[in-house]
Amino acid sequence: MKSEHNILNQLTPENANPYSTPVGYFEGLPCSILNKINSREASYCIPTDYFNHLSSQILQKIKEDEIVDELELIAPLLVALKKENVYSVPSKYFETIKPDLLHKKTKVVSLKWIKYAVAASVLGAVSIGILINNNSDKKLQIASYQQTIKTNVEQGLTSMSDDELTKNLDETKTISDNIIDEVAVSPWQNLSDLNEEIQVLSDDEMRDYIKENNIEEIERLSPNS
């Protein structure tokens, strides 16, 4: 009994717990618990609209696999190639593309063709004028005129600014379109070029178009008719 008393006496609050904790355990406990709560929440998070896009993502992956499998069979070398864009684009091109578009109502004509278009139009206009006003025995004279005009036009063009050329082109009603689309192109090619425009016409517009362009006449002239 005496010995039991001695033992109990030895169990002071300080040495009653034989277990130890890591240094700073309790100080860090709340923080540790909160971290665990946060990390568990994070693990259950899904991106916004994840399920809305899941099926399309899976289908996209299936399609990509089909394309790779197909290419594997016919040209395996191409599967190994990176599909990167090797061509460069001016910086911020895609950010600045919009404003121009909304205010353009006419066809964009590249500046690099303007010089040729102006030259062709002047040559063409003068030649037609000559052809109308002269008969066939003056062909040599026409050739001489054309050469002279060509030289003059070339000399004139090199000294013209792009602005002047653009103005000139506007005044001559986008000659390249007129010449190429109305003269050099056959009616069938013209119709082919207009395909996509025709697709978006309303029925009334289509009827007007047929009336204005005398489509029956074109069909009659077709080599297949």
Partner: protein, 182 residues
């Protein structure tokens, strides 16, 4: 048929007050895909820019009458393809070149591109693509780069799926051969 987002954009486009906003959103959404589709056809940036702008002007004029029984991007791709072909056709007429010369013209444009490196496979691939006949080139680009299903390509190009598969197989084989031999 139309996806929800495109449907909303088309509704907005038909309203005068939101027309430009909707059109801007359509451009933003599709501009890069369409640009690269065109660029691979015409090679030079300035030409691609001209074609892209012309095609979007046509879209602006025609979008109100767009039949919603097909996807918007199918319609856009078709216009982009037609515009690119028209551009190439006009170039051919302007310069009166033969088919062979036209191929080498496009190849020369590739070679003149910024950063061109004849030893890199990616550039050899571009040269090989420019050697393809026009229609095969379009089919190859739509399948290889844009990864479009034959069904969609069939709507864009108004050609049967079987013909498109055959065309793509021929094109891919030719491209691979070119890369192996150069």
């Amino acid at each position: 048929m139309l996806n929800h987002e495109d449907k909303q954009l088309l509704i907005q486009f038909k309203e005068t007050h939101s027309k430009e906003v909707a059109f801007t959103a359509i451009i933003k959404k599709y501009q890069e895909k369409l640009y690269w589709h065109i660029r691979r056809m015409v090679v030079e940036h300035e030409d691609a820019n001209d074609v892209l702008q012309n095609m979007f002007i046509k879209v602006w004029k025609g979008l109100e009458n767009f039949r919603e029984d097909s996807q918007l991007y199918t319609w856009l791709y078709r216009i982009a393809t037609n515009e690119s072909l028209t551009f190439l056709e006009q170039q051919k007429r302007r310069s009166s070149v033969s088919i062979d010369e036209e191929d080498s013209g496009l190849s020369n444009k590739v070679k003149a591109s910024e950063g061109f490196d004849a030893n890199r496979l990616e550039w050899k691939l571009q040269l090989a693509i420019q050697k393809l006949p026009e229609k095969q080139r379009i089919v190859f680009n739509l399948r290889y780069y844009d990864e479009l299903p034959y069904e969609e390509m069939s709507r864009i190009l108004e050609t049967s799926e079987g013909a498109l598969k055959a065309s793509y197989h021929h094109a891919a084989k030719k491209v691979e051969e070119f890369i192996k031999n150069h």
